[in-house]
């Protein structure tokens, strides 16, 4: 029942982007990373949906918006399992997993209060030092943090 409803919901989008298989506990952080809060197109957000792989999952559907690949890949930091579906004229024209970039610019706040990035108007930059465990390190002060504990701007 859940499955058929979800398919119906996805199909109902004429054009836009569906991001599926987001772990429930990071759904709203992903919403923030993508900047969806400030969009004026039709947005549907579902959470705690049943998922075979994840237990429960979240889903984001945004009508008439096609994000740049680099923007979508930012959510790989928190949701490496997420799958992006590009919908055009009710058809899924592209389906792919997000992939973690080598550097993360601007979306994570460094946890070190003595880091220059917390004291100067500037963008942060982190490099991924462990892809399996998703650990990132500040390119400025060198402090490492696991992505699960990272502070999202």
């Amino acid at each position: 029942m859940t499955e058929s409803k979800k398919e119906l919901a996805v199909a109902a989008l004429r054009d836009g982007t569906v991001i599926d298989h987001i772990p429930s506990n990071v759904l709203f952080k992903c919403v923030r990373i993508l900047g969806i809060e400030n969009m004026d197109t039709s947005v549907t957000i579902g959470n705690n949906l049943e998922s075979g792989k994840l237990g429960t999952k979240g889903i984001i559907k945004v009508a008439d918006v096609f994000f740049p690949e680099s923007t979508l890949d930012r959510i790989a930091l928190l949701a490496p399992t997420a799958v992006v579906n590009i919908i055009r004229d009710f058809e899924v024209v592209e389906k792919r997993r997000v992939s973690l970039p080598d550097t993360i610019k601007g979306i994570v706040t460094c946890a070190n209060p003595k880091c220059i990035t917390n004291n100067e108007p500037m963008a942060t930059r982190f490099e991924v030092i462990d892809r399996d465990d998703v650990t990132i390190r500040c390119c400025y002060c060198g402090q490492a943090v696991n992505a699960k504990k990272a502070i999202i701007r």
Partner: protein, 309 residues
Amino acid sequence: MNRHSLVSISELSKDEILHLLDVAGYFEQNPNHKILDGKVVATLFFEPSTRTRLSFETAVNRLGGRVIGFSDASTSSTSKGETLKDTIKMVSNYVDLIIMRHFLEGAARYATEVTEVPVINAGDGANQHPSQTMLDLYSIYKTQGRLDNLTITLVGDLKYGRTVHSLLMAMRYFNPTFNFVACDELAMPAEYKDFCKKNGIKYNESHEFSPEIINSSDILYMTRVQRERFTDIMEYERVKDLYTLRNSMLADARPNLRVLHPLPRVNEIDRDVDDNPMAYYFEQARNGLYARQALICRALDIDILNDKR
């Protein structure tokens, strides 16, 4: 960004380190060499550090360059709320090289990103201080005649001491054996032990500053155990004297052993060690001049050994 900037010692290759040591050796023989004639160097010290600043400024002066700058952020526009970026951009209009000390970590990296003028990091908070590491390497090289296959014992505050972390990273090219002597509260952090494992560096850990460790070492690198580092003041009282070096402890040391310390020292090296020929910490500080002359030449792309101007 200028490719001759230096933020962290880890940016230097083995060949670059060895070349810089040769250049430092040259300057020890010829400290006054007017190769910076007509050059202006800024020493921007957003945090006071008299020793480092005087050493860098002496280096510039002995090379015939001129120095501008400030020794305290309160005398710069920072006190009016100017950003670091704006200060660096402004100073870049005037000088050929920026030598910068800052209380915030990552400040030097950021400075290199906003200017085309080379920047030498003279310490950014608890992060990096590559010129200290160069003078440590030069001191080791000079006293041991080599950097390869040495046993180096690091004593005291191995948790917060950036000098020991940078030294450890710089030594990765030279097959060292490290002894880490510290109490639990100030033990070498896991990330540096992982670094050793990844780079095949041998190390031992000990709570005890024992005769066996001292007598098997080529270098004793002492650091200050600071009271403010402890959450438990009783623990500080318990350990503060455990890592103090006394002259009697050096009786059976290897003849080539040298005692290093980044200074200032408080009581981790007893005054009775000062007259022992193995005590090297004051000469070590003097080596900072030659190491910094070498780093200034690198930053300005001057190859003094092949191009004696």
